[in-house]
């Protein structure tokens, strides 16, 4: 087993990893930026080192200072958490070069899954359905021919794209040329790369992802699925639940089987997530995340497994020690992300100092957070303050429990997403479990009271 883990992250996930290490008897080293010095994960770790000033490029992405911290403290492993360096294959390689165990998959797998084209090819070879699409399109004529073949509506995408830039929905042939030209100009302006490709537009999809664990002995299991279709207009998730509601057993099983098969095909080791778009009876692979996810607690509640501890055990070279049939899910879990954001202003992030912080408790409630009264929220980082997770025997009971928990929650000093989460839980579409990724943007347009 590993002896000392450097936690290369901040916020609630740094604290979450520290907790898993504590329970396994593993010493911890925290890192932090100058404004994060008074933070809870810094106080809870055995050792803590400042690695740079506030901006992430000089602190949480400062690979030389992070590796140096691991070496001078005698850490034997690095847990990257999520975000920052978690899916940086080069960082995983650098860890290995310095004799440090990277708690995550092999660098070659991180690199392959991080490249959209390679990931899709690998998945296609493993028999996983991918969104029908094209290679690079030379010009608008080529795009028109491709769209005719795929069938409208289609989605034009920039290969270098992100955040919706260089992306256009096209619903009819007469709109294609203008959409191609403007999207390409946008991609060139934003990414200095105007290469475009096209995919079939999946209408009103649900975002459903499958959690997997693989060890170094070739064993791969899934831990069910999570429905993450409640997304902000920016496609960031806000509420996640497991199991996914209103999903046929046939599709559920096929998602699980495909995820395991794909991970076996690439020899995947450690925790990972395959994200799918589900539209009616059609399922399409979207991407694979080669790290722990923000929303991992809902899976932990339903399966009774500590995923961070499993990551550490696997990285230590242990085998899973259980087979798929040994894993028995029970109950229903929902997570609400409590962000310092103004929902009424398109979820604009808010910085400030928190006052009057009260988190919920009682049966079936789990709160993963790093904040308390007096915590200053610096402007440099993600706006997530806490994850509130409700667990109960049924979905209805979990929703009721979450509503109760959100009403117990008080955070003053900044705007938060507590109110919009309550609105979502009360919505009849959410209650029915029949929501897709357009649900929250629609709700916002209609005006949350």
């Amino acid at each position: 087993m590993l002896k000392k883990v450097l936690i290369a992250n901040r916020g609630e996930i740094a604290l979450r990893i520290n907790r898993a290490c504590r329970e396994l008897g593993i010493a911890t080293v925290a890192i932090f930026s100058e404004p994060d010095r008074p933070s809870m994960w810094v106080k809870q770790a055995d050792q803590a080192f400042c690695v740079g000033p506030g901006p992430v490029a000089r602190s949480y992405l400062n690979i030389p200072n992070i590796i140096s911290t691991a070496l001078i403290t005698g850490a034997d492993a690095v847990h990257p958490g999520y975000g920052f360096l978690a899916e940086n294959a080069r960082f995983a390689e650098i860890c290995a070069d310095h004799g440090l165990t990277f708690i995550g998959p092999q660098p070659r797998v991180i690199a392959a899954m991080g490249d959209k084209a390679t990931a899709k090819r690998v998945m296609k070879e493993a028999g996983v359905p991918i969104t029908p699409g094209t290679d690079i399109l030379e010009n608008a004529e080529a795009a028109a021919a491709a769209a005719k073949k795929l069938g409208y509506p289609v989605l034009l995408k920039a290969t270098a794209g992100g955040g919706g830039k260089g992306m256009r929905e096209v619903r009819a042939p007469e709109a294609l040329e203008a959409a191609f030209v403007t999207a390409q100009a946008e991609a060139e302006a934003n990414f200095k790369d105007g290469r475009m490709y096209m995919e079939k537009l999946i209408e009103r999809p649900r975002h459903i992802e499958v959690q997997i664990l693989g060890d170094s002995f070739g064993n791969v299991v899934h831990l069910g699925e999570r429905d993450c279709s409640v997304q902000k207009p920016s496609h960031q998730k806000l509420i996640e639940e497991s199991p996914a509601p209103a999903l046929s057993d046939r599709i559920r099983k096929s998602l699980h089987t495909m995820a395991v098969r794909a991970c076996q095909a690439v020899g995947y080791v450690n925790a990972g997530t395959l994200e799918f778009l589900v539209s009616g009876n059609d399922v399409y692979f979207m991407e694979m995340n080669t790290r722990i996810q923000v929303e991992h607690p809902v899976t932990e509640m339903v399966y009774g497994i500590d995923l961070i501890k499993e990551q550490i055990r696997i990285a230590s070279g242990e085998s899973l020690g259980y087979a798929q049939n040994d894993l028995k899910p029970a109950g229903h879990a929902i997570e609400c992300r409590i962000n310092a954001e103004n929902a009424e202003n398109n979820f604009a992030p808010a910085a400030g100092t928190l006052t009057g912080v009260v988190f919920p408790g009682g049966p079936g409630i789990r709160v993963d957070t790093y904040v308390s009264t007096g915590t200053a929220i610096p402007p440099f980082y993600d706006s997530m303050l806490a994850k509130i997770v409700a667990f109960a025997a049924t979905r209805d009971a979990a929703i009721a429990r979450m509503e109760r928990a959100l009403r117990e929650t008080s955070i003053e000093g900044v705007n938060t997403t507590v109110g919009v989460c309550l609105e979502i839980l009360a919505d009849k579409r959410f209650r029915a479990g029949s929501y897709a990724i357009d649900f929250l943007p629609q709700l916002m347009r209609a005006g949350v009271s």
Binding site: E34, S59, P64, S68, T73
Partner: protein
């Protein structure tokens, strides 16, 4: 005894003021009372994030105030004294190497950045240091 009590009260007020200064994001704060009582906090203008004031010397009795330059580590590593070993009181006639920080096998010198006198050495030879850790206080006057 009365003077001591009043000094203790003063120290508390200075500490509160220093804390407020650190929070404020101000680069320089000077308060004076009459001709000979003054206090000043200062930090490097280039630092965007609030950090510990460079040095603050309170002069309650009219003695001239003294400000010391603080030299910080700008990377994480093992700090070692250069030779001759720096020590409090050592006069520096010009810019010279005082120490080095070794990280990932690379040795980065820590220089005095000009002449002065070492007021204090704030780390032990061979100790691990973090980003921004104060290493030396230098009197430039």
């Amino acid at each position: 005894m009365r003077a001591l009590a009043s000094l203790e009260g003063l120290e508390g007020r200075v500490r509160a003021l220093a804390a407020a200064f650190v929070q404020s994001g101000l680069v320089r704060l000077r308060l004076s009372r009459g001709a000979d009582d003054a206090i000043e906090f200062r930090r490097r203008a280039s630092s965007a994030a609030p950090r510990v004031p460079e040095a603050a010397v309170f002069s309650a009795n009219g003695a001239p105030e003294r400000l010391y330059d603080v030299i910080h580590a700008d990377l994480v590593g093992i700090a070692r004294f250069s030779r001759p070993a720096p020590a409090a009181g050592l006069a520096l006639e010009s810019d010279r190497e005082l120490a080095s920080v070794e990280a990932l096998g690379i040795r980065t010198p820590v220089r005095s950045l000009g002449p002065g006198r070492i007021v204090s050495v704030l780390f032990d030879d061979g100790a691990p240091v973090e980003y921004g850790q104060p290493l030396f206080e230098i009197d430039r006057e």
